[in-house]
Symmetry: C2
């Protein structure tokens, strides 16, 4: 498209932005208007995309990291004919696909945006997939705002992209100088952004973001640049084209004061139709599985850490399924993800100590059809909470594995202990939370995770624990295992992970004292096995949960939730980590937190003596 038309298209995108937000009565027209020329030139002359076939493997990826500029994206969709004018005007209405911030309810949106600073990290994941897995020539374009460049996640991504020489990735920074509350830190100091990005190994181009010829040249240069990602740092005006709001404070996130006049000032409505270039041909070739060593199994009574079983199972899964990838946060030797890396180095991605990028890489790769397992210590997954939250908003199925759960890690102390991870993962929409207690169970659950529809979380333990299940036992998601039961059970102890072994020891001890105890291994913390818990409640009247986790949000709450349908609840006792641990041996830790076998036994004896239970 020629420059005059490009300028016309930019104005059209502005007009449509104003129209849509005016119809909605809310939204972010000024943030959209600053980037209109950037988007116009990109779509008309550089993007390769088949809007009729959003899953075409050769499609470029376009991520609107500044998700609040959604009206601009939707105006572009109108220009390319993907949505019609009627739909454009449904912006932000209930039932409309055109949400306040873009989500994958629209087939051309790969990932939801709106929490700033996440588009680039996810784009890095996609670009990595393009370069090292798909090996297709598609490009990844990320449009970011200037305010979001303050997010650390941007710099984790900048580092990763520079280091991996992702020349299929282009970042366009819309430097409109104004954040929502006033001037940004660097205002129009383009070099502040460019020099930082250059230091991280990027090629940078500084332009006037309203000069369509300059934009066109910059995008051409980005595409031609080899061996480095490119950032186009564009000086723009927020609210460009409408004098009442252009480059003025106080107009963030508000429709224009007089839409009719603004549209007139912008030259009125028009319809420049954009013919987006077709994607290049090419198909993703997943290598067929090669030699498939048998999945490892373990003999009952062996002592195996669930993290070891995880690593072995993931490596074996990787042999059976060549769409499985693993991502490490520089702790693969500890999480045992390294076993996958040794078996499948081409599908193993090192993110170093950058947990937001760790999870964002998984999100980007899932958007390209892979089945990612991202792993670090359970405690450090909290670092990526917002990225995981946004993955849930996207409906993206990513599998996360957190090792070193709970006080049972021992001497390293509380900074390394995952004690809030179950709460974090349970609260996420559509999540599945798994917490195995032995090696065979772990192996089964690792395999099952590949089929989960949403976010999956597996919690593994550092120390070795006895294998209690046979290699042919099955562990459906949403299930549980009753490990001890008898007609005279007076209490049900509900445990998971390391506390299963404590519960079994307590039950065996109490059995010698004539006190029957039912033990449930609640390996599926979400969804929870309502039927088995309700049956146990009816049979024993009292449930005692024991968890290597904070009292809030974990196993105890999961069990309570099984009785949230109005049926009478059983008596419920919760043993959990209520202290702030310090250094101590694993055994001491369990004792000090009151979640070891002796504490369980003492608690049950008390209930019996006080006749709280039958």
């Amino acid at each position: 498209m020629r420059n005059e038309q490009l300028a016309e298209l930019g104005q059209q995108l502005r007009v449509d932005t104003v129209r849509a937000t005016d119809a909605a009565g809310s939204g972010h027209p000024t943030s959209s208007m600053s980037a209109a020329d950037l988007m116009a030139v990109l779509a008309a002359n550089h993007l390769r995309y088949d809007f009729g076939e959003p899953h075409h493997p050769g499609n470029d990826r376009l991520i609107l990291s500044k998700g609040h500029a959604s009206p601009l994206l939707y105006a572009l969709y109108r220009a390319v004919g993907a949505v019609d004018d009627e739909e454009l005007l449904t912006l932000r209405r209930s039932g409309s696909r055109l949400e306040g911030h873009p989500t994958p309810r629209l087939p051309w949106v790969d990932v939801a945006t709106g929490s700033l600073g996440q588009g680039l990290p996810v784009g890095v994941g996609m670009a990595l997939a393009g370069q090292r897995l798909d090996r297709l020539p598609y490009r990844v374009w990320v449009l970011a705002g200037d305010s979001e460049m303050a997010e650390g996640s941007i710099w984790e991504a900048a580092e990763h992209a520079g280091y991996e020489r992702l020349d299929n990735l282009t970042l366009i920074v819309d430097v409109n100088r104004l954040g929502q509350r006033g001037p940004t830190r660097h205002e129009w100091d383009l070099d502040a952004y460019a020099s930082r990005l250059r230091a991280f190994g990027w090629h940078t181009i500084e332009i006037d973001g309203h000069d369509v010829a300059a934009i066109d040249a910059a995008l051409t240069e980005a595409t031609a640049t080899e061996g480095r990602p490119t950032a186009i740092v564009a000086r723009t005006h927020k609210g460009r084209g409408v004098a009442a709001v252009e480059d003025k404070e106080g107009w963030h996130g508000k429709p224009l004061p007089d839409a009719g006049r603004a549209i007139e000032e912008l030259g009125g409505p028009r319809f420049v139709s954009v013919d987006v270039a077709a994607p290049s041909d090419g198909r993703v070739r997943h290598e067929p599985p090669g030699d498939q060593p048998p999945a490892p199994t373990y003999a009952i009574g062996d002592e195996v850490a669930t993290r070891d079983a995880f690593g072995a199972a993931l490596a074996a899964l990787g042999s059976r399924r060549t769409d499985v990838v693993a991502i490490d946060g520089e702790v693969g030797d500890s999480t045992r993800a390294a076993a996958f890396g040794e078996a499948h180095p081409e599908r193993y991605f090192e993110c170093y100590i950058a947990e937001q990028q760790l999870v964002a890489t998984a999100v980007g790769m899932r958007a390209r059809g892979y089945v990612p397992y991202a792993t670090t210590f359970a405690a450090f997954l909290t670092r990526a909470h917002d990225v995981i939250r946004m993955a849930a908003v996207s409906g993206t199925a990513i599998q996360l594995v957190g090792s070193h759960a709970g006080v049972a890690i021992g001497q390293d102390g509380p900074s390394q202990m995952g004690l809030e991870d179950l709460a974090m993962f349970r609260s996420l929409y559509g999540s599945t939370v798994l917490y195995p207690c032995d090696a065979n169970q772990t192996a089964r659950l690792v395999t099952a995770m590949a089929e989960l529809p949403g976010i999956g979380y597996l919690r593994t333990s550092r120390g070795a624990t006895p294998v209690v299940y046979g290699p042919d036992d099955e562990f459906p998601v949403g299930g549980s295992k009753v490990l001890r039961s008898g007609d005279a059970d007076r209490v049900t102890v509900v445990a998971a992970g390391v506390t299963v072994h404590e519960a079994l020891r307590a039950a065996d001890l109490l059995a010698t004292e004539g006190i029957g105890v039912r033990v449930i291994d609640l390996y599926s913390v979400k969804p929870v096995d309502v039927a088995t818990l309700q049956e146990a409640a009816e049979a024993t009247g009292c449930l005692m949960t024991v968890e290597d986790h904070r009292p809030e949000g974990g196993l105890g709450d999961a069990v309570a939730c099984a009785f949230a349908d109005g049926r009478p609840l059983p008596r419920l006792i919760r043993l959990a980590v209520r202290n702030m641990p310090a250094s101590a041996t694993p055994e001491e830790q369990l004792l000090l937190s009151g979640i070891d076998a002796e504490s369980i036994a003492a608690g049950v004896r008390l209930l019996v003596e006080q006749a709280v239970v039958r």
Copy 2:
């Protein structure tokens, strides 16, 4: 101290590191040995600190960001006479102050470290306090590892420190080339770190980290550098001084294979005593409160958003208490923290869109005795989850305020909705979670937060809601308010925030149908008012929780927890946000999520019709 002695001191720190970790049977000697010379020269010739008076206002601050090198820190404490040799050898034992990663159980440790990448952000908070609040000449020294430079939080801090020209801050990067699983991304490419930091406005010095003269000169240069923070990027050898482990992979986090021989190789035990320079005199002068406008109050029936009440209350609190500071993540106009900024600009800190730095600034300022309130959207506080978790490990009292809670925000959609924040904050050790429903209640709670001993969280709402309490009502932490009750109540509805108003509407509606409903405003979500909930359970037999939050970890779980002492539980019904919201009006959102008055009323009617309740 002269160079020969400095070298001796460095060797001594190594020997003591080896001895302590050998006695412990675990720990990180090699990571300590790389930084021993850096720490020796810093302590002997540059640090100004009174170990007998850790709270001396003039003390420099020393943060071991690479917390796993704790043996080095403890070896230094021995050298300065703060701990004796006997205590040194208690490393990592249960009951010892010398934990695997440092915590404030030691009086010279301001903040716990061990989750990497957090020492610098917290140091930025302290340096800001030194420069803009305390106005004292103390310096902040942060010793970081090379691996942790991959964390985005480091770059949020680098940006903040450069922008604020914190020349009282020095970062020392111990570039020992080896992470825990192998080589780091940049190995010994010192310029990779230095060039990035320079781009962010830092002065940088690259040195051999085992050359004590070079270290001494660099620290002198750092102290003399004005207008910019300084980073000393030091090339070191992991495991320096012991050939069996020096610069070798596979020795992270393990005691040395033959401690006796290693100590011999290091020249044997010695005791070079370090006489640390005294801090400069000077006291912190908190300005006396000036004019104190009356705290704002609101008339019952007025429509006021709790975020508005928060901003006004915080500004008023800032007039009464000059130790209160407020920190914004570039959304102060939305959270209404801006009201504090207008009243007290000298105590208002803008962190831009960098939530980890937002919270770390609060942590650093609290360590300097201030009472910080850090605010952003509730959803975006998840970005700082790990920083908040570490603040809990530190036992640091910081106050966090999350606005735009729940689906009630309306059209902006799920990316902007805080729906998991209650779960996150409830699960933290020692936290307090508050969720007001009206303006007078908000004002009281904002004031009460200043006295909380740990992490406080206040959840505010975007839209206006009716004032239901008088200005003299009191709202103790751990309390609740019974807003409707009668002898014939058949169900108790437990609500907080926006759902209180829905519950009241439902109760009034049901009253006209002859169905009595008790309504509890559970504004203190943690701790929870056990007595009132148990009383309601006894009176009505059935509780229905209604929350603008995910079903997990929030109000429903908090209520269930009130019955976790083994007493019989009431029937419990939970209304919560179980869908993935899209754009819609606030009213539509509440309806679509089934937490509006009509949904509550319908649920209660069903319970009555089905004779689930009396």
